[in-house]
Symmetry: C2
């Protein structure tokens, strides 16, 4: 056993219930996204490095790019003459889905109708230091709207994400909202330099992980005499939206109307609130920012915002855009905690002996054509072992069809949960099973 | 515009109809796989390099591994002292899904019940030379059964794949079957050395791309006096299964029974046939091999086989296994050619003016809760522009709800295809739309 069977450090395998739950979650999220008229897009795992670098995807994320080695002659050349990190790699793995989307918009500008409502689901990769609970590959489920400059777009992405989470049974989520324009105007009013504001935003963004007094000390140290009661209020998230009326009336008014409309449509969240301390650590946001939190956890389950300047990096025309991304892994974890154990809805048919296998396969095919999932034991084995497998796999309904049953066209349907067995004519099997499966 | 907006060479973006088709195809394939009792698994994009190397995944595939640069101090150290391809990379991108599955079986042996029926859908990466029609990232849709030694397992994976393709409307596929044991025994009977057999298999595997006379010449040159009428027959795929009775009666008998059962269950394929020239270029196959071909194309749409020794690389216990993989991109392309243009089943609701938006959003929400997909224009815009968008997006059904309509609770439903419009009370809208959508 020379070869380790572990996935690489920071990576995970998913099997059994965990894989099933992730699969179902992804299907449900995409189904809700489509019900809002969002279209699927797919982008490659790899991007040219210059697409990923300098995108403003948070300086932090750019430091975490996995880089791909050049190949063949190009690699030989690079290794031959003073090789450096820059000279030996050409591609990088995407660290989010927003930068690739922005590139795609520029590349396919002629084929798309604005506003373009798209969803984008897939893994992203970040070379985080390996440590418990930190993963280097994780799935994002984004909705984005390109080419809309008003908050009508924010309303769509927020509704789509909240509906998706609610459709899988997620409850008790709180939506927090702020606006980068307010933060920016606040910083200017308090005479922060650009560098100070940048540092201040980094402090704000640590709010979940650091206790309040440390946070205050850091801000005070950074800002010196500029640290006052207002700054402290903002840091605590206590400043009401009305405090910003005199600082940036346009943004403050828009945010007020946006929050009112969200409340009017009766979103399935426990609260919708303005949070003056919300910053979302992404460099490219330019307007409203928002995130979803859950009472049971000290972190966000998804976040998004407006990024009106990112697409302009890739084309002459500047296009406004906003998006919202679900933190898939955290949601999957939350759902796992809430999940009730259920027996499998897949019917099992044992093969009494090999000469009956073709008959069993035909029966299974007929059931599947009627929308019933059927598992047949995939090897030659004694009946005892086949039944043990059905138990291990948590199959509840078992169809018994030995020689006698097939000859008389009367099968037996066994309920592994109650232990009861009943006789059913072969022609009634489909309708009988449909009733059983609906009831169970 | 300093940054190129193209995806990296050999990679692709998918948008609009192409993305939709891929999405639907993946959903349908996985749904059929599940209807056979296969469970989902997910493995990471990255593997440790020693997992990928020496796996027998075809020498060719191993040469095509994209390698990932080490990071931080490790990279610095590697670059500092005579850097080589091996010293500067630690991870590789998976080139198929079978090698990762085999690792996962070893890693999670205690949690799984045999035979384990799993499906595995995701992208794989190969550093092919960039050329037209060659892609470096493509999706595979695999079913595998681990721990079953009889061809009952082959029957399951073949049925699952054929049903999946047929469920998306794929017709006219032909299933070809051979067995590595027959090829091996044939080579021994004709006194080929291991090296000769290896080369001979490479020649056989080129059969799709090279004309018959070139193929024969290459085989004759390789084998010299060992090249005879029998070898020529095998090369042409003309040898019947009965010719192998005397060479390897067990394999020949098993294959005969397997083909008979497949015919008995009435698979939705145009033909099931033994092909003595089928080799499938993967080093790890040990028994039956099979592939799906279509009359319209000179290449395979999927292939698979038995690999009884691969899992043993990762654990002390040896476990038999077999699998079948759908060539997703080729199937998507074939379906594209067959697809009829359809108008969108997503209903469109224009916003007459912004003060009505909350009402429109509430109406849209109600429709979605009843299973109807609804698109709302995601920006402030004149009605004319909203209707143009609805046309561009191919939306057929448009719900008109201006001030009057909302006040009187009588909406208008417009059919963009016929141009007809009818009045409907708000409370009847859901049922009316359901009928329209079912009919269209």
């Amino acid at each position: 056993m020379a070869v380790s069977t572990h996935p690489p450090s920071g990576f995970r395998d998913f099997i059994k219930d965990e894989a099933r739950r992730r699969f179902e979650l992804m299907e449900k999220i995409s189904s809700v996204y489509r019900s809002f008229g969002f279209e699927a897009i797919e982008t490659p795992a790899f991007e040219n490095l210059d697409v990923l670098l300098g995108s403003g995807g948070g300086d932090e994320n750019e430091k975490l790019i996995f880089k791909v080695l050049k190949r063949g002659e190009q690699l030989k050349d690079a290794l031959g003459s003073n090789p450096s990190e820059d000279s030996i790699a050409d591609f990088g793995l995407r660290f989010d889905l927003t930068v690739p989307l922005s590139r795609v918009v520029a590349q396919h500008r002629g084929e798309i109708h604005l506003p373009w409502k798209v969803f984008h689901i897939g893994p992203v990769w970040r070379a985080e230091r390996s440590q418990k609970g930190r993963f280097r590959e994780f799935v994002q489920c984004d909705v984005d709207i390109v080419g809309a400059k008003t908050f009508a777009a924010e309303l769509e992405v927020i509704q789509a994400v909240v509906s998706a989470i609610s459709s899988v049974g997620g409850e008790g989520f709180e939506l927090r909202i702020n606006d980068r324009r307010l933060l920016q105007a606040f910083a200017e009013k308090h005479s922060m330099t650009d560098a100070e504001f940048h540092q201040f935003a980094i402090i704000l963004d640590k709010k979940d992980k650091v206790d309040p007094s440390t946070l205050r000390d850091e801000a005070r140290e950074l800002l010196g005499v500029k640290f006052n009661a207002q700054v402290e209020g903002l840091l605590r998230g206590d400043l009401g939206l009305e405090s910003f009326d005199s600082i940036h009336s346009t943004a403050s008014d828009e945010l007020q109307r946006m929050i009112k409309t969200l409340r009017d449509v009766d979103l399935p969240v426990s609260a919708i609130q303005f949070d003056s301390s919300l910053v979302r650590g992404i460099g490219y946001y330019t307007g409203p920012v928002f995130e979803l939190r859950h009472a049971s956890a000290g972190y966000s389950f998804g976040g998004g915002g407006r990024y009106d300047r990112l697409i302009g990096r890739f084309m002459k025309e500047s296009l406004p855009a906003c998006g919202f991304s679900i933190g898939f892994e955290r949601l999957a974890l939350l759902l796992k905690e809430q999940e009730k154990l259920q027996s499998s809805s897949t019917v099992f048919i044992p093969v009494f002996h090999e000469s009956l296998r073709a008959e069993v396969l035909k029966l299974a095919k007929e059931l599947r054509q009627n929308g019933i999932a059927v598992d047949v034991y995939a090897d030659e084995a004694k009946l005892k072992n086949q039944f043990k497998y059905a138990g291990d796999m948590n199959r509840r309904w078992v169809v018994i069809c030995g020689d006698d049953e097939l000859k008389q066209k009367r099968l037996k349907l066994k309920d592994f949960e109650s232990g009861q067995e009943e006789e059913i004519s072969r022609q009634d099997l489909v309708s009988a099973l449909k009733i059983k499966l609906k009831a169970s």
